[in-house]
Symmetry: C2
Subunit: 136 residues, 2 copies
């Protein structure tokens, strides 16, 4: 019998959905992943803090529409549950280099939804970039 | 009669203590500010993720001991309470420029204690740097 999905599984799944929305430029999915009721914030690399759902989603719309937006893959995800909040750390592999990310989720409507995303560039570029998941 | 201290007040006070420990290089205070039981992580600008209390505090010991470590001031703090977790965003003003920070706190022993600190450089340098708090 299949094991029930734990909170850790569920939040890691939502974290991957976030990177799927990013890499496939799926704004509708990105919109659904962010909390609707809890306050949200976002810190993109090089940008000041963005606060509020409308402003955060506007920033994502601009990023996903930009033809020069980088592709992104997510590695080394780890989730920690603090009560009703989950924090996921991971590395983001972009064309230009690697970033360390922290993604904060809360439960809304039975799903883990994003309330904060923050990505910080790591100076040391890994060479060559890691291969995509699922390849030999 | 004085108003009772709210959770928001209390976590903002702890957030300022964090920057006081940083700017006065007070490792003992820094050590006391981080959670002892909940898992902790830290993303310094340009560094990969650091995980675990011992490793995180080792990184802070190295930063606070480094004579060339920057001085830091904290501005525009805002706290959001998500159940038993508090997230503070703020800007860090360093000699070299401005960073956007996210600091995650949990309740331990009746105090808000850090479980994650992450600072992301903001490209646009404010000129001139803002004056210290409390000056005219």
């Amino acid at each position: 019998m299949a094991q029930p999905m734990t909170d850790i599984d569920a939040v890691l799944s939502q974290n991957l959905e976030f990177y799927r929305a990013f890499s496939t430029r799926d704004f509708g999915l990105m919109d659904r992943l962010w909390a609707r009721h809890a306050p949200v914030t976002c810190i993109h690399p090089g940008w000041p803090l963005i606060s509020g759902r409308e402003e955060v989603l506007r920033s994502w719309r601009a990023i996903l529409r930009n033809p020069s937006a980088p592709s992104v893959l997510c590695y080394e995800e780890r989730a920690t549950i603090y009560g009703a909040v989950a924090h996921v750390t991971c590395e983001e592999e972009l064309d230009s280099g690697t970033l360390a990310a922290g993604n904060l989720f809360v439960q809304e409507g039975g799903l883990w939804r994003l309330v904060h995303h923050q990505a910080t560039p790591i100076q040391e570029r890994r060479e060559p970039p890691r291969p995509p998941r699922g390849t030999a």
